[in-house]
Each structure stands twice: as C-alpha cells, then as structure tokens.
C-alpha cells in the first residue's frame, strides 16, 4: 500500500501522540521525515515540525530467550506489512505499515548499534511497505546518471560504491536502493542516509583510511559505519543497474532477455526477508518496468581488493560507452 500523504500530528503537552517518548527530533533519510527516539548524529535534522512520515520508537528491553536464527543470529517473522526482524545479540525491529519502526533492544544496546539497523534493514523494509521498489543495492551518481550496484551480501556493493566515491563520484545509497517512477519511464532513486558500511580491509582499500575512529555497526562484527560526505542531492535518474558477480576477469556485459528481470527479482529487498511469501505481483510489475527502463549489466571480477582501481575504471569506461552506444 502506498502512503503518499504525510501524517499530521497534534501533540498534547507532555505526551506524544505518535508514541515516541516526548519531543523527539525529526531527521531526514530517504526523503522521509523520521521522528525518532534513536539519535542519528549524521543525519540532517529537520526543523521543529508536525509533518512526519514515519516514527522510530524505542520500547521495552527485550528479555525473551534467544531464538534460532540464521548464521548471523537473525530471525524473521510476520507479514509484508507487519514484519519483525530480530538479532539475538541486539534486539528486534518491528516494522509496520510503512509508518512505524518499533525497537525492542537487548540490555546495553545503544543508538550506535540501533542506528545503522534502523537506517539499513529498518528503512529498507519500511520503504517497501510504502509501495516503493526497493532493491538490495548500493548506488553512486556518475555523469551518466545513477548506477545501481546489485549484489548478495559479501559481493562488494558497498566497497565498490566507496571506491567510486573515492574516484570523485557521489554516493546515492548504501545497501538499500528505493526507486520511484515520477515523471517518465526511467526511475529516480531516493537519496539515502549518506553512510556506508564497510569492513576494515575494504575501508582501507577503497577509501585509503584506517578503521580506527569509525564506530562498529554491530557488537559482533568489525564492520564500520563511514560517512564519506559526498552525497548526490538530488540523485539523478537511474542510468544502469550492475549485478556484481565473481569471475575470472574484470568484464562488464549486458544481461539480455528474461535473465535481466530474474536478476532484478533476485535482488528485490522485501522478498529476501519473506521467503515464505516470495515475490508479489507488485514486485513483479516493478521489476518488469525496471528491466524495460535501463540496461541491466553484469560485472564480473576476480576476488581481491587490490583490483578495485581497475574495477572502478571498468565501470567508468562502460558508463561512458553506454552514452555513445546505448545498446551495449
């Protein structure tokens, strides 16, 4: 269900009608005004406003026993419009109706850990609940438009995005790409929150920086949240979607026919959490529209962060050549 109208809130003195714990600040992320109990030090603060798109609320401490989860200790339950995602060492996010993210944290878990979760999976699911087409992708703005980098976890989406930012391009989103068709056949991405989640070796290779001084995104992982500062505002329309895959050589080729749409569906955000539901008719229609809108490409490259400069050059060269030869 789409939610285009903003929700008008009238607060009573001392009691917030939205359920947040008082006069909480509002932040801007993905074009949404978020009134939040979680503090986001790196997000733009909105002026005192009663126009809010969604609420982030911290609730009671989670005391229930640990549950079976995947290899990351994560578990998922619920429906597309009322989804609970839990991490045994962190707590749970309850994301509902494209409107609320309710958090039940484990004891001792603070905003430094909750913030990246809300900005990542929390807003990814919330945007999908609002009817946006959300892909598991990072993206950067190049002269030809926005390039989406699609891939499964560990394929190097954020690392390549960081290397492209280091190369002078602007970040659009990390890990969550929400697309909207506003005025034409080519979708436009929502500007993300401006952060990038990187492993220390990727941080060193892509941005030439040391991990010290960057906060961990999760107590159990070494991954760090980085704010490169170069964020495209507003992001240009999508120019291409590149699927990252392992390979023997650095190469970019166009994915033709049904395989192009299959790749888009494989990287749709919500179905990856709701495997019992799978792809819906809405996702199917959105993926078809995207496959008809922009070139869907596959980038293969051997493993090894030392190849990042060559991979960046391959992306640059290919995007350049797309302008000269759109069929490529």
């Amino acid at each position: 269900m789409a939610h285009s109208a903003r929700i008008q809130i009238t607060e009573s003195p001392g009691l917030s009608k939205d359920g947040t714990s008082g006069h909480q600040p509002s932040y801007l992320a993905y074009g949404l005004a978020l009134r939040s109990d979680v503090q986001f030090l790196n997000l733009p603060r909105l002026p005192e406003t009663d126009s809010v798109d969604a609420f982030v609320r911290k609730g009671n401490e989670l005391v229930s026993p640990r549950r079976p989860g995947d290899e990351d200790g994560r578990y998922v339950e619920g429906t597309a419009q009322a989804l609970t995602i839990g991490w045994n060492s962190v707590g749970e996010l309850h994301i509902a109706s494209g409107h609320t993210i309710d958090i039940s944290p484990r004891r001792g878990i603070g905003d430094d850990v909750l913030g990246p979760l809300v900005l990542g999976v929390g807003l990814g699911v919330l945007l999908a609940q609002r009817g946006e087409f959300v892909l598991h992708a990072s993206s950067v703005s190049v002269p030809e438009g926005t390039v989406a980098l699609l891939g499964f976890p560990g394929e190097g989406k954020s690392t390549l995005a960081a290397a492209l930012v280091r190369g002078g391009f602007q970040l659009v989103t990390d890990d969550v790409l929400a697309l909207r068709w506003e005025d034409g056949e080519v979708p436009r991405p929502r500007r993300g929150h401006g952060g990038l989640k990187l492993w220390p070796d990727a941080l060193r290779a892509a941005l030439h920086e040391n991990e010290s001084g960057y906060a961990r995104v999760h107590p159990d992982f070494e991954k760090r949240m980085v704010w490169p500062g170069l964020v495209a505002t507003p992001p240009p329309p999508l120019a291409a979607a590149i699927v990252l895959s392992p390979g023997l050589a650095i190469d970019i080729e166009r994915i033709e026919g049904q395989a192009s749409m299959i790749e888009i569906l494989r990287h749709a955000y919500l179905p990856r959490f709701l495997t019992s539901v799978g792809v819906t008719a809405t996702h199917f229609g959105q993926a078809l529209r995207l496959a008809h809108s922009v070139p869907i490409l596959r980038l293969t490259r051997p493993p090894g962060l030392e190849l990042l400069p060559q991979v960046v050059k391959a992306v640059e060269d290919h995007m350049n050549s797309l302008v000269a030869n759109p069929a490529q």
Binding site: M261, L265, T280, F284
Partner: protein
C-alpha cells in the same frame, strides 16, 4: 511420465512478462518466479491453448532438433514443475 493422451492446461494462477523474445513467469500462490527460454518458452506459448501431451511433443520434435525420447523426459519434467507450482494442470483423460 505423462501419458500422451493427458491434457495440459495452464491455470490462471500466474503472471507472465515478455522480455525481448523470452518469458518470465510468476506463480501467484508460491511467489516463485521462472525465466523461460528456448524449449520451455516454446512449450509455454504452445500451451496458451490446452493441448494433449502427445500434441505438445509433436510440436517440440518438429521445431527443435531433439529425439522424441529426450523430449518426453524433458518436457514431462517441465510440465510436472509447472503442475507442482500450480501453474498447470494435467488431466489423465483427454478433454480435447
């Protein structure tokens, strides 16, 4: 194996999309999607009207360079997959 006289009918429980010359299917019950190319796409398009399995095989061996015994195995497997996903029904008696 499917009997030559069995009738294959596509159900309405799906969406299909054409990309270039190929087809993507979505089963609305399971949310599972499939990309169809070459023989599978030809079978799917041929099944837009109910056919017996024998008619379907005649069409495939006529259009593609494939032995009938191989076609029986491969097409049967494909039809059973469609059936399992609720995308096609296989009736044991010819309804044509």
């Amino acid at each position: 194996m499917i009997d030559d006289s069995a009738t294959i009918t596509i159900t309405k429980n799906h969406l299909s999309a054409t990309i270039g010359d190929e087809v993507v299917l979505l089963g609305l019950t399971t949310g599972t999607y499939y990309g169809l190319e070459a023989v599978a796409m030809h079978v799917w398009r041929h099944l837009q009207r109910a056919r017996t399995f024998g008619e379907l095989l005649d069409e495939i061996v006529c259009v593609f360079d494939v032995a009938r015994c191989d076609a029986v195995r491969d097409v049967s497997e494909f039809i059973r997959t469609l059936e399992a996903e609720g995308l096609a029904s296989v009736s044991s008696e010819s309804a044509l």
